[in-house]
């Protein structure tokens, strides 16, 4: 109830904003609903956009259980994508049943190493993970650009420097009956698995203790180092998986478009979900739906493309503010997910 109330409050503030511009909120929300959720095509549009966001958000949510604020998932996405693309080039003759899993594993491994390195720097050198992950994201994008325009460039890629295109057999298709690629299913499953890990296993329990109080965890002789390495690497692996799907399902090769900003959007989703992997699913879909509606809003109401950004800003502020109400009413369980 509370999140829905917050959503409506956000809509109300945004409606005021529109009224001040002389635009009709009713038209606006009708269009957003229609283009984001109103037709079968709208759902395909929304869910296709949500797929990478689910995985990118996990890259933030998992380390957050240990109290780590990792904001550089973008780096794992782009390098994971390059890894998948390059593995696909090397395995161009192999059967899909072999090549696709190898590409996926390559992407996940690179992502795991990249964000795992952030965890290692934190644990062994005391380097702040927020700044390290951000710096590494910029470095990863530079590396990706260097690789796809230099050593790994397919000379036949003229207008858009890319690795060699994946053969038709190595492309990931869509979920049967739906124009949405398999990345969505993997993303949802990943969120459920992450939820089980955190909520139902000893590892997850230990991580929650360590995230709450490192000293207490050490007194209980919990393996804090292993937890940090494991959770950061797992988060990175999921981001790498997002890179794999961008390459194998969307682009067909690794190129500069891999840096699409999903890693940064994922930060917002993870925090809105209060790092609860199950809550990531509806929030990623909501955000993707807003983005899916941007085009129709531009075309029909003559509003700038930034309008949807403003809407997101108001809605997310409202949702975050509503958290102050948690625990004030008996019906809501005490706050459990806070890491800050």
């Amino acid at each position: 109830m509370l999140p829905i109330g917050a959503l409506l409050a956000g809509f109300a503030v945004f409606s005021l904003f529109l009224l001040l511009q002389g635009k009709s909120p009713a038209d606006f929300f009708a269009l957003v609903f229609r283009a984001g959720f109103g037709t079968a095509f709208s759902w395909e549009n929304t869910l296709s956009r949500a797929a990478p966001l689910l995985l990118a958000a996990l890259c933030v949510a998992l380390p957050a259980r240990l109290g780590l604020v990792v904001i550089g998932g973008e780096g794992a996405i782009v390098l994971g994508g390059v890894g998948a693309g390059f593995a696909g080039v090397l395995l161009s003759g192999a059967p899909a049943g072999v090549a696709l899993p190898v590409m996926l594993l390559a992407a996940m491994l690179i992502g795991a190493l990249w964000i795992g390195a952030v965890g290692a720097l934190r644990h062994y050198r005391g380097v702040n993970e927020t700044i390290a992950s951000l710096l590494l994201a910029y470095i990863a994008i530079a590396l990706m650009n260097h690789l796809v325009e230099g050593p790994l460039r397919d000379p036949a890629s003229l207008n858009k420097p890319s690795t060699a295109p994946l053969g038709e057999a190595l492309r990931v298709g869509t979920i049967p009956g739906w124009d949405v690629h398999w990345g969505l299913a993997f993303g949802v499953v990943a969120c459920v698995l992450a939820w089980i890990l955190i909520d139902k296993t000893t590892w997850g329990f230990a991580a929650r203790i360590a995230g709450g109080n490192v000293r207490a965890a050490q007194v209980q002789s919990l393996p804090v180092g292993k937890l940090i390495l494991g959770f950061t690497a797992l988060g990175g692996a999921f981001a790498g998986m997002a890179g794999f799907f961008e390459v194998a399902a969307v682009h067909g090769s690794a190129n500069a478009s891999l840096a699409g900003g999903y890693g940064y959007t994922g930060i917002l989703i993870a925090f809105l979900a209060r790092h609860n992997p199950l809550a990531i699913i509806p929030l990623a879909i909501l955000l993707a739906g807003f983005e899916a509606s941007s085009g129709l809003v531009q075309r029909r109401m003559d509003l700038p493309d930034a309008t949807v950004l403003v809407l997101q800003g108001f809605v997310f502020m409202a949702i975050l503010m509503s958290e102050t109400l948690y625990g004030r009413f008996k019906v809501f369980a005490p706050e459990r997910w806070r890491t800050g």
């Binding site: 702040n128 710096l135 700038p304 958290e323």
Partner: protein
């Protein structure tokens, strides 16, 4: 008539780049240092920076005075900071998350209202030529120093002194280190943090005005390439010390000049890697100066990001 300086243009470009590019980093990181010293983190300064760039440019264009633009950017920035500060004063609201949402809101509003100001040309902020002693045009160009850079440098020293030696600075540090201790002293942590966030926002707004009103000196949606976000990270790098923020901003700006200048002297392969120099260098320094035993010395005790 330009002179051929050979490889001497590399150090010259680094100095020139440090002066030209560092100012937004400097203002945002000084503002954020102040905010974080009070125990809050405002990750939304990227949005404030972009809105400052837009509002500064718009006002400068409409009034013809770049300084009114800077003032407008500072006021808008303060307003954004105030909103962040007030919302985060509510119990159980996560300051990092609110920051990210404010970043989206700030950018959204800036792009929304900024459309009509992309085409017009607004007046630039003035610069002072410190290269008068040299006959070499490149030296003169490198030493064109914008007034805001000088103000930023002075502010760094002032804030450093303020935090160390004044009552205001001490109050801020107490609030940042322990909410309970501050309450025991009769201070109101939420009010002080909100003020610190508002001032921090004003600084970030001025940093944005520098981007649109001096260098690169125009308003468009791609004006910031993440300077605001990076500057927030630089505060941790600078260990919350305003003087170190100044150093970090200079390092970052100077290293950013490497990519173009190396190409201009013929080192042209792998330019993406040279463009990454500021990030690699910062990470290297960070790893070298960190230590697992004395992690985060100087970190305010109440800061969520380093707890």
């Amino acid at each position: 008539m330009e002179t051929d300086l050979g490889y001497w243009i590399i150090p010259l470009a680094i100095i020139g780049g440090a002066i030209r590019v560092s100012t937004p980093f400097l203002f945002v990181s000084l503002g954020e240092a102040l905010t974080e010293r009070s125990g809050r983190i405002n990750l939304g300064l990227e949005g404030t920076l972009v809105f400052g760039a837009m509002s500064g440019y718009a006002l400068a264009y409409l009034t013809g005075s770049p300084w009114l633009g800077v003032l407008a950017a500072a006021l808008c920035g303060a307003l954004f900071g105030l909103v962040h500060g007030v919302i985060c004063s509510l119990p159980k609201v996560n300051d990092i998350a609110v920051g990210i949402a404010m970043m989206i809101l700030g950018m959204g509003l800036a792009f929304y209202f900024g459309k009509p100001f992309v085409q017009p040309v607004a007046p630039d902020l003035p610069a002072i030529g410190f290269g008068w002693w040299s006959e070499i045009p490149q030296v003169r160009a490198a030493l064109e120093v914008n007034v805001l850079f000088l103000i930023g440098a002075a502010l760094a020293v002032l804030l450093w002194w303020m935090l160390r030696a004044t009552r205001v600075g001490l109050t801020l540090r107490v609030v940042g280190d322990s909410t309970d201790a501050a309450r025991a002293m009769g201070l109101r942590p939420a009010v002080i943090r909100t003020c610190a966030t508002a001032v921090g926002g004003a600084f970030a707004g001025v940093g944005g005005a520098y981007l649109s009103l001096y260098y690169p000196g125009s308003w468009n949606e791609g004006i910031s390439s993440g300077q605001g976000l990076m500057a927030v990270a630089l505060v941790i790098f600078a260990r919350w010390n305003p003087l170190a923020c100044f150093g970090a901003a200079l390092l970052f700006g100077g290293a950013g000049a490497l990519g173009p200048v190396l190409q201009s002297v013929g080192v042209s392969e792998g330019y993406y890697l040279f463009f990454a120099a500021p990030y690699v260098l910062t990470l290297g320094v960070l790893i070298a100066t960190s230590s697992p035993t004395r992690a985060m010395t100087g970190a305010p005790g109440e800061l969520s990001i380093t707890k």
